[in-house]
Structures are given as C-alpha cells and as structure tokens.
Symmetry: C2
Subunit: 436 residues, 2 copies
Amino acid sequence: MAAPLKLGLAGLGTVGASVVRLLAEQRALLTQRCGRPIEVVAVTARSRNKKRDVNLRKMRWLRDPMALAIDPEIDVFVELIGGEGDPASTAVEVALRAGKSVVTANKALIAKRGVELAAIAEKQGVSLNFEAAVAGAIPIVKALREGLSGNSVARVYGILNGTCNYILTRMEEAGLPFADALKEAQALGYAEADPTFDVEGYDTAQKLAILASLTFGTKASVASVYVEGISSIAPADLAAAEELGYRVKLLGVAVKTETGIEQRVHPTMVPRSSAIAQVMGVTNAVTIDAHGIAPITLVGPGAGGLATASSVIADIADIARGARVAPFGRPVGQLTASKKAPMQRHEGGYYIRLDARDRPGTAATIATRLAEQQISLESIVQRHRDVAPAERKAGSVPVIMITYATSEDAVRKALAAVRADRVISGKPQVVRIEKN
Amino acid sequence: MAAPLKLGLAGLGTVGASVVRLLAEQRALLTQRCGRPIEVVAVTARSRNKKRDVNLRKMRWLRDPMALAIDPEIDVFVELIGGEGDPASTAVEVALRAGKSVVTANKALIAKRGVELAAIAEKQGVSLNFEAAVAGAIPIVKALREGLSGNSVARVYGILNGTCNYILTRMEEAGLPFADALKEAQALGYAEADPTFDVEGYDTAQKLAILASLTFGTKASVASVYVEGISSIAPADLAAAEELGYRVKLLGVAVKTETGIEQRVHPTMVPRSSAIAQVMGVTNAVTIDAHGIAPITLVGPGAGGLATASSVIADIADIARGARVAPFGRPVGQLTASKKAPMQRHEGGYYIRLDARDRPGTAATIATRLAEQQISLESIVQRHRDVAPAERKAGSVPVIMITYATSEDAVRKALAAVRADRVISGKPQVVRIEKN
C-alpha cells in the first residue's frame, strides 16, 4: 500500500466539516478506490472553539491558512474558506508555489485568478482541482475536462444558481411576484439577506466563466460575461411562457458563434419539453451540445455541505490516484483571451411583452416598427381577457410576441421606435429564447 | 511534446469509422488536452473493401484482430467489433496480456468477462476502459468510477436501452399497442428484426451489471440480474400510469438492501415528476442516489456512431494523459461476488391491474385476499367507463390498484389466491414502482 495522501484543510464551515466527516466515513472505500489512505493531518479555521460535531482530535490545528499552505507535512491544500480575496487567494497561491496540489470549492477565486493560478500549478507540476466550484455535486468539470474531451462542443448552458431557480419555480407554481418568492427563499435559507449576488446573475456569471474556459479554452474571465438577473421577471411573463410552450430559467450560456465565444447570463425562455426546463427548485443542471450528437444534460444538487463535499472528495481522490489534468483542460499557454460578448449582435428568438395603449392603430404601429427591422413574428397575442386584476392597467392591454431568430440590435431599435411612438406604457419586457 | 499515443483499431462499422473521423477532426484539440498526439497506426475489419468514407491511407491494415492485438507498434487496442465471443473476446485478452491498454465499447464482453479481463489489466499495469459500453455518450462510467468516488451510493438506476424507451414513449403518446410501436421502431432502425435482446431486457441487464460493479464493487455478472422485459405492457397500463401520476419506463436498478445488492431490470412505474420520467424517445439516463444528497441524473444519447465514438475517445484521451483507474473502480481482489436478487423478497410499491368479473362480491374478494397478506392500498380504481372498446372484455371490468410498500412475496401470494377464487380473467398485470 502506498503512503497516505496528507491533506491540510482550511475552512471548517458546513462544507469543510462535511469533508472531514465524509472522509472518515468513507475511509475504507476511498482507500480501495485510490490505492492509498487519505488523511486530514492539519486544519485551520477562523474560530477554534466553534462547535462542529466532527472529530478533529488527530489533526494539528494551525494558526492561519498561510501557515497551513506551507506546512511541510501536507501534500494537498484544501481551500474551503471562499471569497475571491484573502486569506483564500494568497493561501492558494502560496500552497501552489510550495509545490502542494490544491483542491478548492471557490468559484469566485477560480473565476478571477484561475488562469494565473493554473499557470503556477502547471509550472510546479501539481494539480489545481475545482469540481465543487460549479454546480455542487454534479461532476460537470470532470465531464467537460475529461469525459467529453474529444467532442467539438458548440454550446454549454445551465441552471447554475439554485436561489434563482427556486424563485422562478415558486413564481410559476404559485403565481407569486418576484419580491414574495424572494422573501420565501430567504425564509428557507436559500437566499441571502442581500440577494443581489445571486438574483442579479453574478454568481452564475462566475460559474459560467469557468465552464466556458473548460469547454472552449477561453481564459476564465467574469468581465467577459454579459449579465442580467431575474428581478425584472413578472408573473405575467411566466404565465405567457407557459401558454407559449416555454419556461423561464436563469441560464448561463457559452456558445461558439461566428464572432467568437459568446458568454451570457440572463433570464431565458427554454422549450418546456427540454431537459433543462424540467429542472425545478434549487436543483442545478448543465446541458452540453456537442457536434453531431443529441444534448447531454447533467442534473443534481448545486449546493449544500454534503453535495459540495462530494465533489471536493472526488478531486482529492484524483490526486490520490495520481491523475493530473490541466486545470482548464489544456495548458495555460494555449488558453485564448475572452472577449465580452457584444450583445447587440446576439442572434436568436425573443419574447417581448408590451403594455400597449388600448386605442386604434396601436397594433399596426408596433407591427410596422418590427417589420422595419426585418423582425418576423412566430406568434403575437393581444387581449383584454386573462389579465390579473393586480396587473391590469387602465387603458392598456398586454401584447405578447415571440419573434423568429433576429438580432438583438434589431429588437432594441424596433422597441426604441415603438416607445418613441408613445403607443406603449412602461418599459418593454424582453426575454431571450434559447432553443434546444 | 511527448511521443504520440499509437492506436490499433479493430472494427470499422459505424462506431469505428466515427472514431477514426473524430480523431482526425479533433486532432489539434486532443493534442492540446492530452499533451501528445493520438494516432491510429493500424486497423482491421471483416471486409477491407467496404466503402467507409474515412481516410485510412496512413494506417496499416492487419489481417485479423489477433494480429492487431499483438502488433508491436501499438500502445492501445481499441476493440469495436462487439459481441461477447470471439474474435473480440480473445483479441482483448491477448492485447492485455501483451501489455497493451484496451478501450472497448463492448458491453456484452465486459458484462461477461470484465472481472477476468480487469485482473489481467491490473497485473499488466495497463488500462481497460469501457465508457462507451453503457449509455453511449453519457460519461456515466467516469462519473461513478471517479466523479462520485467518495460518496456512499445507495441506489443507481437508469433507462439504458433506447429501443425500449422509444417503444414505451410511442405507446404512451399515440396509444399504440406494444406490437405496433415495435414495428414503428423497427421501421426507423431503432429495433432489430429480432428485437428479443432489447425488448426482453437483456441489453439493459448487461449494462446494469457493469453499473452495479462500478457503484457497489460487485463482480459484474448478468446472471445476478433479475430480468423482465416490456412486451407485456399494454396501453391500458400507460393510461393508468398517467392518471395516477406515474410513467412506465424499463429501468435497470441496482440498490443496496438489507440482504445485499439487488440488481433488477423490469418495467417500472416512476413518479411523473422525477427526472427519469421526463426522458423520452431513444434517450438514455442514469440517476445516482448518494447518501445525504439529492439525486444526480445524467441524460443523453445512448447509441449512434458519434455518441459512442465520443466516449471511446474520452477513454483513449485518459490513457494518453497517463491516467489509469482500476477498470471497476477498485482492485479486482476487492470486488465481491454478486448474488441473484431474490425477487420474492423485493420490497416496494406495486401497480396491479386485474380484469375482474363484473358481479357482486368481486371487489370484496380481492380486497380480502390483499388484506390477508397485509397489503395496504394507496389507491384503487374500478370502473366501467373509460375502457377503450378494443380492450373491453364482456362481463369484466378493470380494477387498478397501487399498493403501499409491501413484499413481492405478499403480492404473488395474494394474486394467486385471487386467481384461485376465479374472480378475475386472464393474468394479473403487475408493475413495480420505484420512488425517487
């Protein structure tokens, strides 16, 4: 039997404690699977005295992550502190420079400094694994980095934030406005007191930047991701989606287009029959469209102590077995710069909802403005019935349109013209459609 | 740059030709990802003259798989001949004994001789990879062997045969009887002229034996799998399933019970809201229930040249990168013997459909017989309406029952008693329920 793999674990929150517990419970199985035992030999966390309900007796307690990162006894530095800044950031860098492999669940850090850290790992000949950074227990990093390594992937997209999916699910199921569904999510612990990071799409953007890098070899960069959250989605949009055969999901989408790799996060209408549309509540899912084959979709828990620990341990097990893969699937020198997607050049179908003035000529004006931009309509619904009293506005009638594929630029121009014509009240609602 | 990985490829059917084509198309990407080029240096197939539409000019043509298996130039023997017997079986063994790694898509061979071949691979220090043997392009072998290697998995189940899922989908969608849906599948090339192997569940059983081994460390053994096909399923069952909130799928299920690992293939009622219930047509899917976390489901194409080639190439890429994992996830010496599941001890809910004699006392008799076996009913539907004319039998009325969890033994005894009472005509229909 080979020597044990020795871990230093920084961070003993829900995930850290789950990792310690799962490693102990699964010790025999992991030893079988890896050919050697895996041992946590040292730990560190902000508070030593917090009650944690895990057995830390055989582990040395170090004063801070930096001391742990250079501890001569450890082979692997497991970073479960979180956050793009220090202490996590410097500790991971120091550990890599000291020749330790690193396993982390830190999406913010990998999205921000992943390429730079991967370069250090590569130079040192060590691993930098981050399966848990995206979609919790779903082995999506491994699937993209290894399982589909020979495919020409055209598009990868997913539901990467359980908070948003829970809110959209409840809005659809119970007809709740966004604010009420958010409150419910907060009461259940699915959303933070300040929900901005989740509901405005930034969390999804970090994960998407990582997926795009693994898939297309771009340098992970959140700055290259177009981001739009779900706070503007109204129950009326979910009801219209249902009627038209769609569901609204907050998707992160990375797709190869003629102009490059487009990375975007926004509320999206997906066909109700698609695998991704079936994903409800806090569950995450990722779909991969590879050339010439039907889509592959991975669905599972995106958060939670044990779900995240599951992926952390798989990453550790790979190191224990001696398997080392380039962090982003190819050498850092071959990763290409990411460019921000010019959304005005985005092409696709659009859902548009307008509050039209209820007077003669309105429909004709709207139709003319769309036609001027060469936009063809797949469907248009205008009606007085079926508007919930709370959403009814005096003198206005909702008009809902689904366009055939067009450019975002055309949609923006047409709607600007419609607004200038003063035939609608308020801001038009626009949701991009993603076909499967 | 390291030396190229040299492949010998046996079998140039749809899959073999797709592998050659995809390796050529993705050469640059694969070289990046693996740190070395991958080259097919020699091939063999039954007919040399068949038109294949792939460029074989730079490859040596060997006279038979055996010659290829011991060819001194090759590092990896890629077996795409298929079938549990020769030439595939001996050629794979000979290649392993000659110190070559082997990549195969051959489920029949792995299900039959996998353990024995894994022992040779282990002794020789080479890889035996078979991602493509189960669920086509879905990276399920990798997910179970590596991605979830630290989890305590309680159950793995899936739709592993596209033919059956297509037939059940069409029976449900179009109300077709089994025979008509089968004919349609045959016309579309989804089912063989002799469909027995697929529709009676044997194909699923081979794949399940492999999944069970990867998950629970049992020795892959088809003989340990209880097998029941879909040919007895009637449109009436699919209609009743719909009404009761279920769908009927042919599942392969491996589950840890108090008496050991139960491996079974049979038509199954799954809750309509489950991820697996959404999988329609020829698509495959596998769900993994690990301790303490929500289920993980992988969905994708289960067959086809490119889908299978995708997994074959991922296996090859792992070898090119130098990653070697025990074929069944742990050393052969630690795999445990499989036992045939004693189905009479299976516990779960049951769907039962009877053609009851339409006369006083029938319902009471049936209820009494079930009660004698301590079977509680979740629901019972008996009615004269809603029976399609073609399925109506003079003097009989369908009775549909869903039981709470009970043992198969109890169900069999109760139904034997009901038959002996002569209150039903024909054979009772029984479908097991799998809860998510």
